[in-house]
């Protein structure tokens, strides 16, 4: 008996019990859809975050206080923070090899009139526009004079504008940041959301002003914009040399590549974990298939007897039932892929889900494997039935 014939028999048997077949398939559909959806979200977020970082340019060095291993922060925590003095020191030694940009980040409250909004405060200096903030849509970035003079000027993200000045030109308007009055001088181009919330809900102000508002002399970290991309490793070594006398080994310098590597590993692990969790539901779906196939085999004992009497070999019966289970699981898999991919596309508005080929291929193969794995035992039982026992079965 050839495979085409087995398929025909399987389809006929499954369509004879439509409701049961669909319900059995539902287990696989849900499992596969969950795998596709979660993996799509995982990969989407991963590629968005890494995209944002590589969008900053490949000639950046990230300098953070505290010792970090490749995998993330090590033990001990941060013992000593950077200050603007450290920044000036590094900048003076590096000279034209690179521009050192201060970084500061903190949660803050914004207010205009009686409207308030929680946002993220970013502190930087006149050089921070490209490396830290992005494109200016309207107005301008702050100047050296404003940084030195602790000016109360702010460059806002598009979400902030939408909250306080929707559809209006916000330049020159007022904004309270952390209870202090500011003048809006620029508007950043919209970037879209990411896992940690919108990147457009930000307010960038001069680093000096930020220190004042937050009442600190520290900065969160430094970015080094290296002039010559080929010199990146050399500059990194030099920065490390410069900071070692002041911080011993309690600081970390990452190149863009390393940062990307760490983030990718982290997000990849997260995606794999999500896929693993979703696979459990696929496993449950598989057990459902096995259950229904066992019922089907005992229901159709007589049919098996008839088939054997007219010449079906062990293999014929085995393949008939395995193929039946596979048709259930693969059909469920295909529907699940459509549902999962459809769901991922529908969610695109809120979460940057990305349906990848490998997720689809993996889900498909996995569902087929589930069919074979959970179909073999019932099929084996069917194929081993004694023809005369099977014919006598009531």
């Amino acid at each position: 008996m050839n495979l085409v014939e087995s398929f025909r028999i399987a389809i006929r048997a499954l369509s004879a019990n439509k409701v049961r077949s669909v319900l059995t398939m539902l287990g696989v559909i849900i499992g596969v859809a969950a795998v596709i959806l979660l993996v799509s979200i995982g990969t989407g977020v991963q590629s968005q975050i890494t995209g944002q970082i590589s969008g900053l340019g490949s000639n950046l060095l990230f300098v953070f206080p505290g010792k970090m291993d490749q995998g993330g922060p090590g033990g001990g925590g941060i013992t000593k923070q950077f200050t603007l003095d450290d920044l000036d020191y590094v900048q003076s030694r590096l000279g034209a090899q690179g521009t050192v940009i201060p970084m500061m980040q903190a949660p803050t409250q914004l207010r205009v009139g009686n409207r308030t909004k929680s946002s993220t405060l970013g502190g930087s200096d006149q050089n921070g526009k490209d490396a830290a903030a992005g494109t200016i849509e309207m107005g301008r970035w702050f100047t050296r004079g404003e940084v030195v003079g602790n000016s109360r000027v702010a460059v806002i993200g598009s979400d902030v504008r939408a909250e306080f000045y929707p559809g209006q030109n916000p330049i020159g308007r007022k904004l309270d940041v952390g209870g202090q009055p500011f003048t809006i001088i620029g508007l950043l181009a919209a970037k879209g959301g990411s896992l940690g919330g919108s990147q457009d809900n930000v307010v960038d102000i001069p680093i000096t002003t930020a220190q004042q508002i937050l009442n600190t002399r520290d900065i969160s970290g430094m970015l080094v914009d290296v002039s010559d991309t080929n010199q990146i490793e050399a500059v990194k070594a030099q920065v490390e040399r410069l900071l070692r006398p002041r911080f011993a080994d309690q600081f970390t310098v990452f190149t863009q590549e390393q940062t990307l590597g760490i983030l990718s590993t982290l997000l990849g692990t997260l995606t794999a974990m999500l896929a693993g969790l979703a696979s459990i539901s696929l496993l449950v779906g598989g057990i459902g298939i096995m259950n229904i196939m066992l019922v089907s085999v005992s229901e159709r004992t007589r049919e098996i007897g008839i088939r054997k009497a007219v010449g079906a070999r062990t293999y014929d019966i085995l393949s008939q039932f395995v193929i039946e289970a596979m048709v259930l699981s693969v059909l469920g898999g295909v529907i699940g892929i459509l549902v999962g991919a459809g769901g991922a596309l529908a969610m695109h508005k809120w979460v940057p889900a990305q349906v990848t080929f490998w997720a689809v291929a993996l889900a498909f193969l996995f569902s087929a494997a589930v069919g074979v794995f959970f179909g073999v035992y019932p099929a084996y039982r069917a194929s081993r039935l004694d023809p005369i026992e099977a014919l006598r079965y009531e």
């Binding site: 007219v310 010449g311 070999r313 014929d316 023809p387």
Partner: protein, 282 residues
């Protein structure tokens, strides 16, 4: 059974000489025994049976229920294994074959007709008849051609796409006969083929089996019914797991004549009922 009959049988057992096959034997069972355990009690269904089926003959295996006749049919039909003894089909010893080899022999050499028809439900007559050909590995077009021919042979050429539940019992049994025939087997084994049928359908089925036999097909009928057995040329009587008598049928019943008789009876019945109706109306 009356005492007279019993004596008659006893006489004939004494002189029981089965006609040795003038041509070759299609099927031979030699010293077959079958024992099985039922609720911790060992039951001997067959206690050393020898059967020889000649090519082209119509043989009946007859016995009361529990005599072991069905077990015998299952064993010679390779659906069941003998505890001891050998079974030979077309000169080939099948005693040591594995289940797959037996399946192939059943497929090619044996056609089954069961009391309860055993057709696949929700499957057309044609698809049911095609079933053995699927396992013989034939292509779709060839299968369809042969299945249609077999159904035409049993007079169901106009019922190809009917489901079993759309057919009468007699028609279903004819589909089963077509299925048994379609592989051109060496032998057709029929287990109580008329057991679930009314007398007219039963006669029709016997007529088809006799016609097929006349066309050269070897037919073995298993039955408890002496009248059904008398449609065969030879009857083997089985009792308590042994062959007690092997006789040639002298006054063989031809189903064709029975049908004619039945038609006449019906005609008489019709006349009677008509006259009754006439009386009522007047």
């Amino acid at each position: 059974m009356s005492d007279e009959q019993r004596e008659g049988i006893a006489e004939r057992i004494a002189s029981a000489v089965g006609p040795a096959c003038s041509v070759d034997a299609v099927l031979e069972a030699h010293d077959v025994t079958k024992r099985y355990i039922l609720d911790d009690i060992e039951v001997s269904a067959l206690r050393g049976v020898d059967v020889e089926v000649c090519r082209g003959e119509m043989l009946a295996i007859m016995g009361p229920s529990g005599s072991g006749k069905s077990t015998l049919m299952h064993i010679v039909g390779l659906l069941d294994h003998p505890t001891t003894g050998t079974v030979t089909i077309d000169g080939e010893d099948v005693s040591h074959m594995d289940p797959n080899q037996l399946a192939t022999v059943r497929n090619k050499r044996i056609g089954f007709v069961f009391q309860s028809f055993n057709l696949l439900a929700r499957t057309t007559a044609q698809a049911n008849v095609e079933l053995p050909l699927i396992y013989a590995g034939l292509g779709g077009a060839e299968r369809a051609k042969r299945a249609r021919a077999a159904l035409e042979r049993v007079g169901l050429g106009n019922r190809l796409s009917h489901m079993p539940n759309q057919l009468s019992g007699g028609q279903q049994q004819r589909v089963a006969i077509a299925r048994a025939l379609v592989t051109e087997p060496s032998i057709v084994l029929a287990d109580e083929p008329t057991g679930n049928l009314d007398s007219r359908s039963g006669i029709e089925v016997m007529m088809i089996l006799q016609e097929l036999n006349a066309q050269g097909i070897t037919v073995v009928i298993v039955t408890h019914d002496a009248r059904v057995a008398r449609h065969a040329q030879r009857v083997i009587h089985v009792r308590d797991g042994r062959v007690v008598l092997n006789e040639c049928v002298e006054d063989r019943i031809m189903a064709e004549q029975e049908t004619a008789l039945l038609d006449k009876e019906l005609a008489v019945d019709d006349l009677v009922s008509m006259s009754v109706n006439a009386k009522v109306t007047t």
